[in-house]
C-alpha cells in the first residue's frame, strides 16, 4: 500500500478544526449545568481507501469523533467534509460497526444482513443473494439461519461487519469492534478485516485502545490526547514484509512502532487517570 499522505488527490474525509462541547448537569449542585469540551481543534485528513486507526486513553472522545463523522451528532465548531461536502447527518455512505454488535436478536444472520439492504432499497429478490454473498465474504457460509444468540461473539461481529459491507458504504466506521472478543478471536478477525479491506478498497476509520491492534491494522495511527481530545501525533506505520513474516507482531519493526505509540500514549493515560480521580473526588 502506498503512503497516501502526500498524494495530490482530494482527501476522502477532512476534519477542519472540529470541536465538540457537551453540557452536563452538575452532580453536586443540580441547578448548574457545566460544559466540558470533549474534542478540540481536530484537524485530520483521510485519503480514500486508507486504513486509519485512532488510539487514545479512555474518555478522550474517540467515540465522539466517530459519532460526528457518522452524522449521529453535530460538531460545536469546525466542520467535517466527506468528499468535499460537509456532513450534516447520517447516511448510508458510511457504515458503522459497533462494539456491541447491534444485531437485531429476532432476525437470523441472513435477516440481519438484509436489514441493511432494506434501508437502501435493494429489491427483495436481490437481497437474499447479496446477503449470502457477504456472509460468505466474512466466512459465515452455513450459518445464515442462526439467530444471534446461537452465535459466538466473533461470529456476531462478523455478521455485523457483513451487514455494514452489504449496503456498500464508501467509509467503514469501526468503534472498538473487537474489544469484547477474546484474544484469539480478535486476531483472526483482524486478519479477516485486513483481507476484506484490501479486497473492497473501503476507507476504514478504526477506533481502539489497543496499541497492538492499532499497529497491526493501521496504515497510519492517530494518537489522541486525554480530555479535551486532540490529535497528538500521527504515526505512519509501514511494514516492508507484511506478507513475508508469519508473525508480524514479534518482528522488530512492529516492536519499534509499538514502542513509539506506547510512549506517546503513556503520559496521556496517566493524565486521563488523574482526571478521573479528580472527578470522582469532587
Amino acid at each position: 500500500m502506498p503512503e497516501s499522505t502526500t498524494e495530490p488527490t482530494t482527501p476522502k474525509i477532512v476534519f477542519e478544526d472540529v470541536r465538540k462541547d457537551f453540557t452536563v448537569k452538575d452532580r453536586t449542585r443540580a441547578r448548574r449545568a457545566t460544559r466540558f469540551t470533549a474534542l478540540d481543534g481536530i484537524d485530520l485528513e483521510i485519503a480514500a481507501g486508507e486504513f486509519i486507526v485512532l488510539v487514545g486513553p479512555s474518555g478522550c472522545g474517540k467515540s465522539t469523533l466517530l459519532d460526528l463523522l457518522g452524522g449521529l451528532n453535530q460538531p460545536t465548531g469546525g466542520r467535517i467534509l466527506l468528499d468535499g461536502t460537509p456532513v450534516t447527518g447520517p447516511g448510508l455512505d458510511r457504515g458503522i460497526v459497533f462494539q456491541q454488535y447491534a444485531l437485531l436478536p429476532w432476525r437470523t444472520a441472513q435477516g440481519n444482513v438484509e436489514f441493511g439492504l432494506e434501508a437502501t432499497g435493494v429489491p427483495r429478490r436481490q437481497r437474499a443473494a447479496r446477503a449470502r454473498e457477504f456472509l460468505d465474504l466474512v466466512g459465515l457460509t452455513g450459518f445464515e439461519d442462526r439467530h444471534p444468540h446461537e452465535l459466538s461473539g466473533g461470529m456476531r461481529q462478523r455478521v455485523a461487519l457483513a451487514r455494514s459491507l452489504a449496503y456498500d458504504p464508501d467509509v467503514l466506521l469501526m468503534d472498538e469492534p473487537f474489544a469484547a472478543l477474546d484474544a484469539q478471536t480478535r486476531e483472526s478477525l483482524q486478519d479477516e478485516l485486513l483481507r476484506i479491506w484490501q479486497r473492497t478498497g473501503k476507507t476504514v476509520v478504526f477506533i481502539t485502545h489497543g496499541i497492538d491492534e492499532a499497529v497491526y491494522l493501521g496504515q497510519r495511527v492517530a494518537v489522541m490526547t486525554s480530555r479535551p481530545g486532540r490529535i497528538k501525533q500521527i504515526v505512519p506505520v509501514a511494514f516492508d514484509s507484511r506478507t513475508a513474516t508469519d508473525d508480524l507482531r514479534s518482528s522488530p519493526e512492529f516492536a519499534r512502532h509499538r514502542h513509539e505509540i506506547w510512549s506517546l500514549l503513556h503520559d496521556e493515560v496517566a493524565r486521563a487517570q488523574q482526571l478521573e480521580k479528580e472527578e470522582a473526588s469532587v
Binding site: I96, T141, Y167, T185, D191, E192
Partner: protein, 319 residues
C-alpha cells in the same frame, strides 16, 4: 461431533426447540478461531444429518419417554392431591359437607349443567364479554403505548396519571360505570376494557423505552424513517415485554368480568355462581367456580403459547 451432542447430553433439556440449536455453542468458538474456513465444518453435516435425523429423533423420543412420564406426574401431583383432599375431607366429616360437598358431587353437578346447556350459555355470555373487552383493550392500548413510550415528553407528562389509574382497583369504579352506562353489556365490557388497558399500556410503554439503545443508534446511523424504525426495530424489540402485559390483561379480563357479573347480570358464569349460592345449589356453585378457573388457565396457556412463538429469539433455549 453432532450425533453425540444431539442424543447423549441433551436429557435434561426441553425437546423440539433445543435440538436444532444445540450443537452451535459447541462448534462456534472453535470455528471462529480457525476462522478462514468455517464453511466445510458446517456445510457437510447440514445435508447428511437431515436424513439421519428422523430415525435419531424417534429413538430419542422413546428414550425420553420415562422422563416425560415422570415430569407429567410431577406437574399433576399437587392438583391430584387437592382433589383427593376435597373428596375425602367432607366424607370424613372434617368440613361441613353442606358447604363443601365432595368433589365427585361437584363433578356430577357440573355434568348436569353441561348437559342441559346452562353451562355453555353462561360461559358463552362471559367469554363474549371478556374477549371483546380484552380485544378492544389490546387494540387501543398497544398503539397508544407505542406512541406514549416513544415520545418521552408525553410519557413524562402522562406517567403520574397512568400510575393513579393503574392503582385504582377497577372494581371500585364499577358503580361509576353502572351509573354512566347502565347495567347492560356496555358497562360490563367497558369495565373489562378499562381493567385490561392498564397492564398492556404500561408494559408497552416500558417496552418501548427499554429498547436496546445500540439498536436505535444503528437505525439512526442508517437513516431509517420513523415508520420504518417502528416497524422494523421498536415493535419487534418490544414484543416480549408487551406480551407480559397482555398476559396480565388476559387474567384480569376474566377476574373483573366475573366480579362484575356477580353484581348485576342475567347471564354469565359470575351470575351462575351467585345465583346458585342464592338458591343454595352449592355443588352447582362450585361447578361454576371450577369452570372459571379452567377457562383462566386455558386462556393463559394460549397466551403463553403465542408469546413463545413471537419471542423465541429472546430465550436462548431453555424451554
Amino acid at each position: 461431533m453432532s450425533p453425540t451432542t444431539g442424543t447423549a447430553t441433551e436429557k435434561t433439556r426441553a425437546p423440539g426447540v433445543v435440538s436444532a440449536a444445540e450443537p452451535v455453542p459447541a462448534v462456534s468458538p472453535a470455528t471462529s478461531t480457525v476462522s478462514a474456513v468455517p464453511a466445510p465444518h458446517d456445510a457437510s453435516p447440514a445435508g447428511v444429518h437431515q436424513a439421519r435425523s428422523t430415525a435419531a429423533r424417534l429413538r430419542h423420543a422413546v428414550r425420553r419417554l420415562p422422563y416425560l412420564l415422570v415430569r407429567g406426574a410431577t406437574k399433576s401431583v399437587a392438583i391430584v392431591a387437592l382433589l383427593l383432599l376435597w373428596e375425602t375431607a367432607p366424607r370424613l366429616g372434617l368440613v361441613d359437607r353442606t358447604f363443601l360437598p365432595p368433589f365427585s358431587e361437584v363433578a356430577d353437578a357440573w355434568w348436569g349443567l353441561a348437559a342441559d346447556g346452562q353451562l355453555a350459555d353462561n360461559a358463552r355470555a362471559s367469554l363474549t364479554r371478556s374477549f371483546s373487552g380484552f380485544g378492544l383493550a389490546v387494540a387501543v392500548a398497544v398503539p397508544l403505548g407505542l406512541l406514549i413510550g416513544w415520545y418521552r415528553p408525553v410519557a413524562d407528562l402522562l406517567g403520574p396519571l397512568l400510575e393513579v389509574f393503574r392503582n385504582t382497583a377497577a372494581l371500585a369504579l364499577l358503580p361509576v360505570f353502572v351509573l354512566l352506562l347502565g347495567i347492560g353489556e356496555t358497562s360490563k365490557i367497558s369495565i373489562v376494557v378499562y381493567a385490561c388497558t392498564w397492564p398492556i399500556l404500561l408494559n408497552t410503554i416500558s417496552a418501548v423505552r427499554n429498547v436496546d439503545p445500540t439498536l436505535l443508534k444503528l437505525a439512526k446511523s442508517m437513516n431509517l424513517s420513523a415508520p420504518r424504525l417502528f416497524q422494523k426495530v421498536i415493535l419487534p424489540a418490544s414484543v416480549p415485554v408487551m406480551f407480559t402485559g397482555i398476559r396480565l390483561a388476559g387474567a384480569v379480563s376474566i377476574l373483573v368480568l366475573v366480579a362484575a357479573e356477580m353484581i348485576g347480570a342475567k347471564a354469565g358464569l359470575g351470575y351462575l355462581i351467585n345465583a346458585s349460592q342464592y338458591n343454595f345449589a352449592i355443588p352447582q356453585m362450585y361447578a361454576g367456580i371450577i369452570t372459571i378457573s379452567a377457562i383462566g388457565v386455558a386462556f393463559n396457556q394460549l397466551l403463553v403459547t403465542v408469546e413463545r412463538r413471537l419471542s423465541s429469539w429472546r430465550v436462548p433455549a431453555d424451554g
